[in-house]
Symmetry: C2
Subunit: 267 residues, 2 copies
């Protein structure tokens, strides 16, 4: 049975994003502490800001929606009773954050009891850009107001602007698929993390493909891409669940062209 949205989830998500902004913004370009989650050569920065952001969102949820579950990147899973789960990544793009770049974002996704992401926010506090998606629609909210999100009309991969965060973290088979896309597309952008999906929803990027995503990397993106009229699928072309291999495209024509390459490397 489909789980109906019986509360104003967009308002709750906005309250979470506001709380995270206030907690994170002061730390940008003022880093003191960078901890390593893993020892050795692999570098996974976790900042004070990351933890402060998630704590602020958890405090807000304890007040507004104590019955909902939480899955946060920093503090893990907290059970709930409503069937709804808030999936939180206080700073997606921690590498960009550390390097002083504004492509990091706050990710907030609402997932139903079937594991489908239905409401999402990608928030960039420095740029004052908040991308919001829900079943059937999406907006970009700034201090200047709200603009409807609408994907591009590009239907030819040879004319498309495509993106992936890091071509070097893909598996060899995935790299093969990506290399094929890269040679076909008009233009490629790297290193954007969730912000690439935000710009896809806003119509300036046409296709994004990534692999190895965690649920908290992906839950926020899917409703925004879909709300803007785009498609979010796994690398076989099936509607995406949050995590693993993800391809988002402005339309079916573009997606079909990309799947020719991606499907061969699908999990």
């Amino acid at each position: 049975m489909k789980q109906d949205l019986d509360f104003d989830a967009v308002s709750v998500a906005n309250a979470l994003a506001d709380a995270a902004r206030d907690a994170i913004r002061p730390h940008f370009r003022a880093l003191k502490t960078i901890q390593n989650k893993k020892h050795g050569r692999e570098f996974d920065p976790v900042t004070e800001a990351d933890q402060a952001g998630e704590r602020a969102m958890r405090a807000m949820l304890a007040s507004l929606r104590p019955q909902d579950a939480i899955h946060g990147e920093e503090y893990g899973q907290t059970p709930g009773t409503s069937g709804w789960t808030w999936v939180l990544d206080p700073i997606d793009g921690t590498r960009a954050f550390v390097a002083g770049l504004v492509s990091w974002t706050v990710l907030i996704g609402l997932v139903n009891h079937d594991g489908d992401a239905v409401v999402g926010i990608i928030d960039q506090p420095v740029l004052d850009e908040r991308y919001i998606g829900w079943p059937g629609g999406g907006v970009l909210r700034t201090k200047g107001g709200e603009t409807p999100l609408q994907v591009s009309t590009c239907e030819d991969l040879r004319e498309a602007v495509i993106s992936t965060t890091d071509p070097f973290i893909l598996s060899p088979a995935e790299q093969g698929a990506w290399t094929h896309l890269r040679h076909t597309a008009r233009m490629v952008r790297y290193g954007l993390d969730a912000y690439a999906y935000a710009r896809l929803a806003a119509g300036t990027i046409d296709l994004v493909a990534e692999a190895g995503l965690a649920p908290y990397d992906a839950a926020a993106l899917i409703p925004i891409v879909r709300g803007a009229g785009g498609l979010a699928c796994d690398w076989r072309g099936r509607p995406a669940k949050p995590g693993g291999q993800l391809v988002c495209a402005a339309n079916q024509g573009l997606l079909d062209q990309a799947l020719i390459s991606l499907r061969r490397s699908a999990d």
Copy 2:
């Protein structure tokens, strides 16, 4: 004989940057026309904004410094009589501009009769960030005021944040050098064009290496990196002239470690 700065070049450069901002800003995320300089598969977008930006800067120079030469990315070379040349790239990072990303910048460099860049501006209008460098100093100017530019203290390549714009446009030998750096460094960022050097001057990126630069890609960067206390060299470690292979680093220790790899692929 050294050519002394006998006029307020920073004020002129700021006037140029203001003019370019006004001309370019309205076009961002509102693109109508993208022309191709080259036919075929290589994509080199030139926007109305690019041309309007350079025209605005040329008009300002005709008024303020008619005796100086101009070398612009869009409209080529205009001779002068003073020995000074303004080297202009109205939109560096046109790919970022087209993709709706804010890592594009306006580049303004002042080069003396020996071909050395002595004053530079990297301006990002959307973020309201203007990085300014001159002999002996540099600032980041925003609406909030001015902050001195100061490179990081990172002296170990294994701890460094490094950047190059596109690892796939390097020659095979250059790619070999870059791959070595990439595997040594803590973190890598791609696709930033001149903005990587701005963040190097501001202390959040530690080393940037690129090849195949045009004079208008590089003239603005060098005075800013040096004004912030950093080093700008070719891949043999000699002080950089604008163009070709460029490596900028926060300090000599970091540069020496990178040159171990880069020198083997130096022109």
